[in-house]
């Protein structure tokens, strides 16, 4: 017998058709009505304020390391701005004198879901600005939608260089206030060759998804430029979130590489380090973590000393000392009991960039509220200072940020019982980012043509 399907009824000629029609129409009307109702009310409801919708992962595996720290960072900054309590040069209340209303949304569900939600943020929530998105897939899918719906959209994190290089080559409404992955990989390669000039063999282990594949490709290309003839002993691509790396670790061990590169993050990174440690994988070889910073406090006692840590920009421990940075760290820590990591910094930097542009645009109009086009004009090619230092929108018609980068080595201070970063090297923004109009991968293959390093 075949499986029975639970639904049975007379169905072809339904004498209750009118009732059905009534029910369906009723259900439709009810849901329509419900959907058209105003959404969740905005925090800090106020007349004449600026509505910012934030989107990042609030559920799923990326929520812990990225999504929630970003949310918390946004909350810290927005609250401080609304109180006018933020350090200079952001002392003015709100944005251009207007209060910030804000809401946070989950980035779950993939591009399909996110496109639907994005349209609601624009058309139902009437957001003035949308700041968000961690996943490159979401960023790529949303770019054309944002251009179509003519809404200022600021990507604070997603790392794929291709967004403005291939997908949205002529951006108008879309900005990215965080540098893309090219910067991380170029700086990491330079750092590696700097501290281990004799590195001859290299192995990579990256999650089998776009960002993992792209990171490894860029890093390897950069290493091949800086250290011609470098040998790759293994390039492992375990499934995202697989959590079991026994066989991969065996492969890495048998190759005996000088250095092991990984773009792992979150639970996968932690599991890999725990399992690699237990099997002496890191004894006598350098571990390079291109996105290791969010894990460094939580995993403090597990990360081998000398591990090269990258924070995807000069964020967190790498952030240069400033009043703004000290305040950000202090307020964040007192609110959440942990230190802000790079997602918190990146979202803070996005908010402050928007604030600066709004205020510059308002200044040009002698204080009148600027429209979106005016804000965009003010934001493009602009410069401002975030808690991690200066940011400049220099690529992709002034829509893509570049920033100086900083990389260092992990060291656990047993006396103080907390981790620290030593041997920090800083790289000028134009040293590790491609010049305008050049695709990242072409830039690497050209031998970093046009790089301005000190």
């Amino acid at each position: 017998m075949s499986a029975k399907v639970p639904v049975r009824a007379e169905r072809r000629e339904n004498p209750a058709a009118r009732k059905v029609l009534g029910t369906v129409a009723g259900a439709l009307a009810a849901s329509l009505l419900a959907v058209c109702l105003p959404g969740r009310s905005w925090a800090q409801e106020n007349q004449g304020s600026i509505k910012i919708s934030f989107v990042s992962f609030l559920s799923g595996p990326a929520s812990g390391p990225f999504g929630v720290p970003a949310r918390n960072g946004a909350e810290v900054i927005v609250k401080a701005l609304n109180q006018g309590a933020l350090a200079a040069p952001y002392k003015t209340k709100g944005i251009a004198g207007r209060k910030i209303q804000w809401k946070f949304f989950d980035e779950a569900g993939g591009p399909q879901q996110q496109v639907a939600q994005y349209r609601q943020l624009v058309e139902r929530e009437h957001s003035d600005v949308i700041i968000g998105y961690i996943s490159s897939g979401d960023c790529k899918a949303l770019a054309p939608v944002a251009e179509e719906l003519k809404t200022l959209t600021v990507y604070f994190d997603c790392g794929s260089p291709t967004i403005f290089e291939d997908v949205d080559v002529n951006p108008h409404y879309v900005f990215r206030t965080g540098p893309h992955a090219m910067m991380d990989e170029a700086a990491l390669a330079r750092y590696t060759v700097g501290v281990d000039p004799n590195v001859k063999t290299l192995a990579g282990i990256d999650q089998n998804y776009d960002w993992g594949q792209e990171s490894w490709k860029l890093f390897l290309a950069a290493m091949e430029q800086l250290k011609p003839g470098i040998q790759v002993t293994a390039s492992q691509f375990p499934k995202l979130l697989s959590g079991q790396y026994g066989a991969d670790i065996s492969t890495l061990l048998t190759g005996r590489p000088d250095a092991i590169y990984t773009s792992f993050w979150g639970g996968d990174l932690e599991a890999f380090i725990l399992q690699g440690n237990a099997r002496n994988l890191f004894n006598g070889r350098r571990l390079l973590l291109s996105a290791g910073e969010p894990a460094m406090y939580r995993l403090a006692t597990q990360i081998p000393d000398g591990t090269v840590i990258c924070a995807r920009g000069p964020h967190g421990v790498f952030a240069p000392d400033s009043k703004l940075n000290r305040q950000f760290r202090k307020v964040y820590h007192s609110a959440y009991g942990s230190w802000p990591t790079y997602p918190s910094y990146k979202i803070a930097q996005a908010i402050l960039g928007v604030k600066t542009a709004y205020e510059n645009a308002a200044k040009a109009k002698a204080g009148a509220a600027p429209n979106t086009e005016e804000v965009i004009r003010a934001l493009a090619n602009s410069k401002w200072v975030g808690p991690s230092g200066p940011v400049e929108l220099a690529l992709a018609n002034g829509h893509q940020a570049i920033q100086a980068n900083a990389i260092g080595q992990f060291k656990y201070d047993r006396a103080k019982g907390r981790p620290e970063i030593v041997d920090i090297k800083r790289y000028a923004a134009r040293c590790v980012n491609p010049p305008p109009g050049v695709k990242s991968i072409d830039w690497v293959h050209s031998g970093f043509k046009g790089a301005q390093c000190d």
Partner: protein, 322 residues
């Protein structure tokens, strides 16, 4: 006597009314809502295919395979081959789904119950894996699908959205009418006959395997069409279309709406979109729980899906009087 057994068929009326309502509504409702409906209709196509299989007693966990194939066909044709006409893309997507459906169907039509489900799951996950390993197609991130043309006409922005919506509505309407006819034909009835008693069908002289193969291919084509429309509506395709969660969602939609009538899967798809959009809005931290709870309530209190509400009003017995 025979005349008494033949009742008036209201489904075409309902479908036409729904079409008119949707088209008229598209002028009034905000665009995000129209978009939600469009997604629901596109998904509804895939769910209608699933309904065909479920009525024959087969539950597929792998309709995402054809949904994804449809989406990727549209994307590849648009981005790499320069084919952008909506109707050409639909035909292409349907053709690819049909060919792959036929090949898989030849093997899969022998399977029943959980083994059918698991084999369909395996197939879709293999495609998922292949796409993730393909960097040219954007790996997990997928790639964007260029805006389609309509017989040489290339609208932009709001007008494009509206046109695509109209095309989607009309296509779904035509497919639903056709499918409704199909369900009332000998082959349609034989689906239930197979579910109820395969042996008897064989002993009447019909080939169960051939009948199921046709249904499987039809379901594949419907999912493929849904995938094309989704790809064009979202403007982006990614391997998640083939992930098992997508197929699971189709199943949820089928259960939510019911499988008694062609309109039921569409209703299920629509309600799920709305519930999810709602849950994400009002409970961004607990939307999974909201979705799960909704699912439980429906399964517990409306085992026949939302469509059965109509029956409950009338009372249980709808057996035609003679």
């Amino acid at each position: 006597m025979a005349a008494a057994a033949l009742r008036r068929d209201f489904t075409p009326v309902i479908l036409t009314a729904a079409l008119v309502l949707l088209l008229a509504g598209s002028a009034v409702v905000p665009a995000y809502l129209r978009f939600l409906f469009e997604l629901a209709l596109a998904n509804g196509l895939a769910v209608m295919g699933l309904m065909l299989l479920m009525r024959a007693g087969l539950v597929s966990f792998g309709q995402g395979l054809y949904y994804c194939l449809g989406g990727y066909t549209a994307g590849i044709a648009g981005s790499f081959l320069g084919i952008s006409d909506v109707f050409a893309l639909l035909a292409l997507g349907a053709a690819v789904a049909a060919v792959v459906g036929l090949l898989c169907g030849l093997l899969i039509a022998r399977y029943r119950e959980i083994f059918f489900a698991m084999l369909t799951l395996a197939f879709t996950m293999v495609l998922y894996g292949l796409l993730i390993n393909n960097e040219r197609l954007g790996s997990t991130d997928g790639f964007n699908v260029p805006a389609p043309h309509f017989l040489g006409w290339a609208p932009e922005g709001e007008r494009l959205g509206l046109t695509l919506f109209v095309v989607t509505c009309v296509l779904v309407y035509v497919v639903a009418l056709g499918l409704h006819r199909y369900l009332g034909s000998a082959m349609g009835y034989l689906g239930e006959a197979i579910r109820e008693n395969e042996l008897r069908v064989e002993y009447l002289g019909a080939s169960v395997r051939r009948l199921l193969l046709v249904k499987y291919v039809l379901a594949a084509v419907l999912a493929g069409l849904g995938g094309v429309l989704t790809g064009l509506a979202v403007g982006h395709v990614d391997p998640d279309l083939a992930n098992w969660t997508t197929s699971g969602e189709f199943l949820f939609m089928a259960l939510l709406g019911g499988i008694e009538n062609v309109a039921a899967p569409l209703l299920g798809a629509l309600v799920l979109e709305l519930v999810r959009s709602y849950a994400l809005e009002y409970a961004p931290y607990l939307w999974q729980m909201t979705l799960g709870a909704t699912m439980l309530v429906i399964i517990l209190f409306l085992p026949g899906g939302l469509w059965s509400l109509a029956r409950m009003r009338k009372g249980a017995d709808l057996t035609p009087e003679l």
